[in-house]
Amino acid sequence: MAETLNGSPKDRRAEMETNGFLGLIVNGVAHRLDVPPGKRLTRVLREDLGLTGTKVGCDAGDCGACTVLLDDRQVCACLVPVGQAEGRSVRTVEGLADGARLNRLQEAFWKHGAAQCGICTPGMLMAGMELLERTARPTRDQAMDALGGVLCRCTGYQKIVEAMLDAAGNGPAPPVDTLPDGGMGARVARLDGRAKLDGTERYGADHWPADCLHLRVVRSPYAHATFEIGDLAPVHARFPGLHRILTAKDIPGVNGFGIYPDIKDQPVLAPGRVLYRGDAVLALLGDRETIDGLTDEDLPITWTEKPAVLDIDTALDPASPPLHDRLTEHNVLIRGRVRAGEAEEALGICAAAADTRFDTPFVEHGYIEPEAGYAVRVGDRVHVYACTQAPYMDLDEVANVLGFDKGRVRIVPTACGGGFGGKLDVSLQPILAVAAWLTDRPVRYVYDRPESMRASTKRHPARIDARLGADADGRLKALRLHADFDTGAYASWGPTVAGRVPVHATGPYRVENVLATSAAIHTNQCPSGAFRGFGVPQSALATEGLMDDLAARLGIDPLEFRLRNALRPGDRTATGQVLERSVGMAACLEAVAPRWKDWRADAQAANAAARVAGSPMRRGVGVGCMWYGCGNTSMSNPSHMRVTVDAAGRVTLYNGAVDIGQGTYTIMPQVCAETLGVPVSTLAQVTGDTDATLDAGKTSASRQTFVSGRAVKEASLALLAEIRRRANAGPAAVIRFEEGAILAVEDGVEKRIDLSGLPVGADGAVLEGIASFDPPTTPLDADGQGTPYATYGFAAQIAEVVVDIDLGTVKPLRILAAHDVGRAVNPTMVEGQIHGGVAQGLGLALMEEYLPGRTENLHDYLIPTFGDMPEIECLLIEDEEPEGPYGAKGIGEPALVPTAPAILGAIRHATGAVVRRVPALPHRVLTAIREADAEAASR
């Protein structure tokens, strides 16, 4: 056959192999590039053309963050070898705006709040553009189909669909903002929105010094093993591009990190023993090609596998290997306990009681941006640029690992493409800092998706045993609950979870007699850490299920039963705290009650009709409630804020409260603007840099709006006080900021401070206000008595689902979410938090289960897509919290907690099936339906 070719086979091969220059038309501009034709288009765009607007979340087609248009059709750029794009048109997010003018889809995304962290936004926009260009007035279904290949972990998709339809002229515009100055309650579009929409935002992987070394950590393939590293010289000889290999011996300071100051148990590089699949063993430094081509098999590591402790029962068995020497109880990290009254006795005399055992799995955060960043050595300091939720904690960890004073470390948070608790612990920061310090070269490290999933923390798997009792009038009398948490190989946030859960065990209800205990137990699994709710979503699944059990037993409507027991002002919690104000639980329930009745009736009617028609579809409506303490549990967690005025009269907010998508770079300025009485648009903001901003604590525990927001208010007030002092004006003086001057007006008298006459500080400030806020709490005693939190969020959600009783599949249809947020600083953002929380709660309920070694990617680990989300309606209850800024408290975590219980309640209402293990995968639901049917038949 070869003879029939024109020219010799050799010539033809040479022609095919033209690895030389390759022509591409990117956003209308022709480029000729000297790149290998097999290189992923994502890498060519990002690395060779500097177009980092196209994001990489998985390199596997699963997340769609890399979506670009190839000849006007959406494709995953990570799956396109650049050779296949030769001579064709490639369009990326950078090509959408016309100079500074965003296009209509970008505008709609911005106004609707469709971008939170923004990491999915470029992909969403490109997928949306394909639709807009091909379909005149797309329907909602068409919009969903067009966008369905892009995952978003923040928004729950609702605002994205709304923005899409608005831009397509087939949906309403966003609610109009009636508060033009952007203070409290205004629907201000994200102040950092533009960069997220035009592709210029810089996330962890989007910037790197030109001459940087690339780093890759080699991780343990075993859950439990010891290892020895052989002679590395031959590896260096074989791979000349390998610059250096770091091992545990190279760590200059303490080879350990961890959330608690006294538990630095996770090694930066394991010193000879690994405790989970994913433990860091050594670090390779070199050029990108070498690092990408060097596999673990190329390294002389001799492993000796040890018996692995893979579940809590094994861990508690005294015969199992002890995982940490420092522990006083075999493999138990910590225990938690809250005791009030006499639970056991009270349960004995309850008119009705119900028991449960509930199991939940590891759950992955699934932020679309894998961990990424770089570090540089600057003189005797190290600067680390990385995505994070907790720059000041990172600073402490890095300094400790380097053996440096804190002043020698600078952390600059990049934009963060989602965190949800998973970016609270350090990941690559310590090893990057060590590598940059030792090599005196900039060092870059980007986790790939499997590494991110394998190495990072997870939601704690829980096994919860509980018994709840009520009297004949349906008043809760007693709760006994014990929760065992698999805290994995290292401590991370285990103590926080073990502490928070007993405090929240009763749910938002009055229960006089409580014995709630917990244990965080070490295994050889991935470390469990912080994930939106710190264990409370797990315990709420158990206890809300018990509420449904008891309601059924007592013949009381589930919502009415909850209302009867809801915490109200003046009630005492199980920790002995008397809740005085901002206790909106009953208000939330009352807000959803009318719809509850209608939906329940509709569902029953639909099911009656379905039975007659022989249809397997059954509808059901369930309710879930929650309370959630804002801030750290009984521990100081202050935020410090600074507001300055420069000589020109410009106000700058130095805001160290990291925005991971939830909106602190907008919320804090709104509080500041409200306090100073200036339009939010006039404020300048300096964010995220430990050299420039004060410690505003971590972005977690739903604390930023409440704690940092209050600190912003106080700092703004301090600035006003300083101004009044300088102007010699009284507290009632109205302050006006003008060009180069400030006016204090009191009783018609105007006092003027000429700013040009004031001494100028290092950063240009002539006046400043600095303040802190630490929510008032008290320590808990041995019985968990005290004031663990200054305030609590409350919520009730009702969910309607349809269950296919032949297949066990569950489809949520609609969710109504009522949340007491104290005061909504920015309703659009609050709704965004609720939508996103609902999506994660839905994932927890129906599909998410992380199995180490088996679901380390986004096609085996399922998170909700566009098509999985019900319609969500939010009802914001504003029962003002006096400690919060203008009444505000947190919403981040509360949004997620009630959803899964509401969905399970709805499955129960639809089918009678009681699910006691999540996710409620179809096969589990079907089994539960059969059990319920069998039980009903035997009765």
Binding site: G61, D62, Q84, H859
Partner: protein, 286 residues
Amino acid sequence: MTATSYLRPRDLTAALDALAGAPMTVLSGGTDHFPARVGPRPPEAVLDIGGIDALRGIEETVAGHRLGARTTWMDVIEADLPPHFDALKQAAREVGGMQIQNRGTLGGNLCNASPAADGTPCLLAADAMVVLASARGERRLPLADFQAGYRATARRPDELLTAIEVPKPAVGSARSCFLKLGARHYLVISIAMVAATLEVTPDGTVAAARIAVGACSATARRLPALEAALAGRPVAPGLGGVVVPDYLDDLSPIDDVRASADYRRHAAGVLIARALECLATAGKGA
């Protein structure tokens, strides 16, 4: 040829010639290729067939239809095809997201040979043949024979899959339907999926039935006993009632992260019954 050769032929003969020289990794739409290559990996020799336009497109022939191996899912969705392709079209619409539909190819789907490949049951139920070509010549195989086992095919290292041939219905008309079950809506790998084709006589009875089930055995497979039981029955509501568990004995599902084996078998039965009911009532796939 070196370990890192990357060849981009424009025509088939050049590609086959290259493959005759040394085994290379074939790359078509890349939607299975790249996901299998996340993380560190030594370089490899690649034959990128993305530039061979002759392999793409759907053609009507005397015997039926010929679908080039590089035909994408979107090509299938957008093509004007008779009802016995409805199953394949439905499957195409549910593959990944549109990004994947725009790039992934039928040939890649079959050659990748995942037990969860959605194209396979559809094409089994369409009675498809695959065409394999090498520098030595061409051969045709029934799709069932092409699937050699779990993630294995009868493709020899020097061969390319060039086309898929789908015959015309033998008598009367044929209708088809595809149902897929997964734990989420978009971007979902099947827990189980079913394709059903009914060839219907002019008087409305089943002339021939072909039922194929995926994700419930090492490779998707047909259920001959059930097909035989369906033959000759009137195509009318109630047809799904023919499905009884005995007919599912040939399936050998496994427990995995997505579902239990028992559930898979049960779900396959439910899906088959629904597919048949759908074909019987709607007259064509829904």
